[in-house]
Symmetry: C2
Subunit: 247 residues, 2 copies
């Protein structure tokens, strides 16, 4: 029963998120079905993070136990064969120690949020960015972001239905940069609260378009109330970039 | 009857190419239908280049005459409104001189070809890259590309059905670079022959994977026979980047 460590890339558009749910197709179900089709699955697939409906992944780490001792290349090609035509790909596979845990062993998670900031709607990046037609000042957004880095009570930035015991989290990095029409917001933390990145982005967007002052992000944080911060940015601009492991 | 200069971005996937054809939906028809829906079209839309079926555009210049004198912002928003949900967007609109011609006035055309070079098939870039699983040596491809730059008879690299009077063209730039798993091939010329970029890419790919020596690209050129060069690369990796104008 070898354990495999897989890295997944997926387009979150057609999925209800990572986790298996009663309504809708999940990425987890797509992967488990592919392993079942190989006739060799021996337990559930566990991911570094449970992405929401519509959220994409560039390199999501997953562990999966198989009943057969296959070389990693065979696991990767077999899973990819059976995953078609769903937009999920195993981009890396290797044998993991039996106690490797994709969720509990992850020391840091990286997210990217992309905004297409121009008048015309996206054609080539449709479903891959949040389209904001009004001009955004990325430097204002970056200045506001700096106040959120560090260890804070993120009650204002987590979903009201978030089930984490504590809202205290350490945001290691939050940066905003612009390349032509695309604004990229990068966030890194040991772990995130539910909707934390999207709620931060929705808040920074209000600041970027001048509806709120730069200090608003920090004021909302201090208020410790979800109502004090901005709205939740849509899921299709968000990417799980990768998780870091010490092993 | 003002003439407008438009810049289009489109996903070529669902289209039979730029030009109106009997079978299949064209980008030209999508744009003209949108202008008709505004009740103001006064002639055909003319593009800097006639892209093939499946080829994308980042910024294709088009001219279009309207029967009404509208401010460019209104032209852009009106066309974009009526273009939905087709994956075509007007990203810029301005008033052009009455004699501006998107095709004849273009001094240079820029193309980009993207190859995803890794084992796993694309998920996020599905339909946007040519997936080549076998490892490619971009430096070999670049060395081969250098021999094609300049004024040559490109008979070996044009489609046998190409209707241009002469196969002699000047390739101003042909460069190959790699960023992680993506190989980008950039080509620039005053004008191109039918399938010229895709036939060059198909040839460079054979060299990159070691099936042919670096000298093969030049040998194929000198043979002045389509059969001497490599196969045609698929359309969905190709992007019309932009055209340059002196006016």
């Amino acid at each position: 029963m070898p354990r495999y460590r897989l890295t997944l890339e997926f387009d979150g558009g057609p999925f209800c998120g990572w986790q298996i749910q009663e309504n809708g197709r999940s990425v987890q179900a797509a992967l488990e079905d592919a392993a079942d089709a190989m006739g060799t699955r021996d337990g559930p697939a566990v991911a570094a993070g449970r992405t929401d409906s519509g959220v994409h992944a560039m390199a999501l780490t997953v562990h999966l136990d198989l009943a057969q001792d296959l070389i990693p290349e065979r696991v990767m090609s077999g899973l990819n064969h059976h995953l078609r035509p769903e937009p999920v790909t195993v981009i890396e596979a290797r044998v993991a120690p039996p106690d490797f845990h994709a969720r509990f062993d992850a020391r840091a998670r990286h997210y990217l949020y992309r905004i297409l900031n121009r008048r015309g709607p996206p054609a080539l990046l449709a479903g891959r960015v949040w389209h904001v037609a009004k001009g955004l000042d990325a430097e204002r957004m970056q200045a506001a972001a700096e106040a959120l880095v560090g260890r804070h009570d993120f009650t204002s930035y987590r979903d009201t239905a978030c089930q984490a015991n504590s809202a205290i989290k350490t945001l290691t990095r939050l940066s905003v940069g612009r390349t032509a029409e695309v604004i990229e917001i990068r966030a890194q933390a040991p772990s995130f609260l539910h909707h934390q990145v999207r709620n931060i982005v929705g808040t920074l967007k209000l600041i970027g378009e001048g509806q709120r002052p730069v200090a608003f992000a920090r004021q909302a944080l201090d208020a410790k109330s979800r109502a004090a911060a901005g709205p939740t940015a849509p899921p299709h601009g968000l990417y799980f970039v990768r998780a870091d492991y010490s092993k």
